[in-house]
């Protein structure tokens, strides 16, 4: 499929992931930008402020003294009926942890991007997915992207999904720090009219908000069974998001011409003997590695998890069924399991299958360690070997002796 870059519809620009995120936010017409603009923030906010200075973005801005306040300000604006945006990364996400839990518990549909990075210590500012993995049980929806185009597109989908009256949950649109946040590549910017049409189903007046005319309470003091009811309904909404993201994918393709696969994107998976499972930018390299291993006769395919929370358990189980082995690529560490976080989920999913499938976990790409194509080709080979009965460790640390 050698084609020239398509230049027929929309506006094709070369931009990095931060700018792609800013364009996505601009097109969604937020009412409020809440920001803590200092490290580990990304240039995304600078771009949004530039849009505002140019008169393209009609949003209130509030600069606060820390990430916890940034998210709290966004939560207030959204509870009052507005559309709000904030962004963070790494230790900034940790610093907003209690506001993070308030946002989801109050069912406030904030959209927040995370340029995913490692955690300290050892001290680092580098790429990794540990930050989002550490908050994965915080009750937010988490989307993880592979390209700059997918960042922009996922922000449009995120507002539509978050603000849907049957969902009403905050969403993280996650993109790998540096590998996407600073990767410049062609991105098609949709027209404002098309985005307005796509978002017309949600917005002002379509969900409960704070109002003096019809008073409501967000985050009231609750005990016992009523608390359980809140949690039960929260869990139900998370499950509905799995169905809605699939439906929205069809709608998005009809509007913008790009299907993404809903909760999981598959690549050469149909006839694959072994399945690789991963998330984020490294899946791009993994696709190239799979192509090369296919040329050597190894029938491998990929399931790229796009919606990490809620976890697409049933769909993944169907994709895993009948494979000779499943290899999972993680860019994070789950200390309690001596493995990667995604692997723990895949291992739990495997319990839904009738037959036992060999599983192997590849942990790598920590703190910006480059996931070279050769490392991922080795991961494919190792997965195939496990499918053929060769023994080996359950967790392989890529790049470590």
């Amino acid at each position: 499929m050698r084609t020239r870059a398509p230049r027929t519809d929309g506006n094709l620009r070369v931009m990095d992931g931060n700018k792609a995120a800013a364009w996505g936010v601009l097109l969604c017409r937020p009412d409020l930008l809440a920001s803590y603009p200092i490290s580990p923030q990304t240039p995304l906010l600078e771009q949004l402020y530039k849009f505002r200075a140019e008169g393209r973005l009609d949003a209130e801005t509030v600069e606060v003294e820390g990430e916890n306040s940034a998210l709290s300000a966004a939560v207030g604006a959204v509870a009052a009926g507005g559309r709000a945006f904030t962004a963070t990364s790494s230790m900034g996400l940790m610093f907003m942890y209690d506001a993070y839990l308030y946002a989801s518990g109050q069912r406030v549909p904030v959209v927040m991007t995370v340029a995913t990075r490692e955690q300290c210590a050892p001290h680092t500012v580098s790429s990794g997915q540990q930050d989002i993995m550490l908050v994965k049980e915080g009750g937010w929806i988490q989307l993880i992207t592979e390209s700059c185009q997918e960042i922009l597109d996922s922000i449009l989908v995120a507002y539509r999904l978050a603000e849907d009256p049957t969902i009403q949950l905050p969403i993280n649109v996650c993109y790998d720090g540096y590998y996407l946040s600073h990767l410049s590549e062609p991105v098609r910017v949709p027209t404002q009219e098309a985005v307005d049409r796509f978002l017309a189903a949600v917005g002002v007046g379509k969900r409960p908000v704070l109002s003096t005319d019809a008073p409501l309470s967000f985050g009231a003091f609750v005990l016992g069974e009523l608390y359980a009811e809140y949690r039960y309904k929260h869990c139900q909404a998370m499950q509905r998001a799995l169905d809605l993201v699939a439906a929205l994918d069809g709608e998005f393709e009809a509007a913008f011409g790009r299907p993404w696969g809903g909760s999981i994107e598959t690549y050469r998976a149909e006839d694959a003997e072994v399945l690789l499972v991963g998330t984020g930018s490294a899946c791009g390299t993994l696709k190239v590695a799979i192509d090369r291993m296919r040329a050597e006769g190894l029938a491998a395919g990929l399931a790229r998890i796009r919606m990490f929370r809620p976890f697409p358990r049933r769909r993944l189980a169907e994709l895993m069924r009948g494979r000779r082995a499943v290899g999972v690529l993680d860019r994070s560490v789950c200390f309690g399991w001596n493995a990667g976080h995604l692997y723990v989920d895949v291992r739990a999913t495997a319990a839904d299958l009738d037959a036992r499938i060999p599983l192997v976990n590849f942990v790598g790409g920590l703190a910006g360690a480059d996931l070279r194509r050769e490392l991922l080709e080795d991961a494919v080979r190792t997965t195939v070997a496990r499918g053929r009965g060769e023994p080996g460790p359950e967790v392989v640390w890529l790049g470590l002796g």
Binding site: R4, V14, L183, S184, E185, R372
Partner: protein
């Protein structure tokens, strides 16, 4: 131009010379010429003077790799003095291209076969046109002339996305002069080989 296989470029420079921005501008120009392209900088500690690298791939098909460049088809050396710290020529493909900011090629390690090489006084051009030693845009002009992988017109066309006002005019002149003043150097591996 149209290419059949993916090409990879690695930039080496020092913080402040604009290596990361050069990769971004070149990606934009290549896309303007009809290719797919992706570029990103090495992620280290950001400070002026520190060695930096940036990576670029272009192809007639979408770029999916999200990794550093280990086997470049071309090296762009904004700061050729970095060869003293080693590793600069690692992985350069046989008969690869070399674009150097300077008047002569740096010493090329034994066993490295350069197929195409050129030099340009990019820092001097930048000082004259921009008033500061940001050698990136003049070097891109020279790259266009030496390799013919990107058009000068595309480079000039995308500059307004990155510069405005006086800086835009200065960088336009830097690209033009880099293109015009680039000098091809022949048989570098024999002329400059060191053991």
């Amino acid at each position: 131009m149209s290419i059949d296989v993916q090409r990879e470029i690695r930039f080496h420079g020092r913080g402040g010379q604009g290596a990361a921005l050069a990769a971004e501008i070149l990606a934009a120009a290549l896309v303007r010429d009809g290719s797919f392209a992706a570029a990103f900088p090495m992620f280290g500690f950001e400070r002026r003077g520190a060695p930096v690298a940036a990576f670029l791939r272009f192809d007639s098909a979408p770029i999916r790799e999200r990794t550093q460049v280990y086997a470049p088809d071309c090296l762009i050396l904004l700061e050729p003095g970095l060869v003293r710290i080693g590793g600069i020529f690692d992985g350069l493909k046989p008969e690869g291209a070399l674009v150097v900011n300077g008047t002569t090629l740096p010493p090329i390690p034994a066993g490295v076969r350069v197929g195409l090489a050129g030099v340009v006084r990019a820092t001097a051009i930048a000082r004259e046109e921009l008033g500061r030693p940001a050698a990136n845009t003049a070097t891109l002009g020279a790259f266009a002339r030496i390799t013919r992988w990107v058009s000068r017109e595309a480079l000039l066309d995308v500059l307004p996305d990155y510069f405005e006002g006086e800086a835009l005019g200065g960088n336009r002149r830097a690209v033009e002069r880099g293109y015009r003043e680039a000098t091809l150097v022949t048989a570098p591996e024999t002329a400059h080989a060191v053991s």
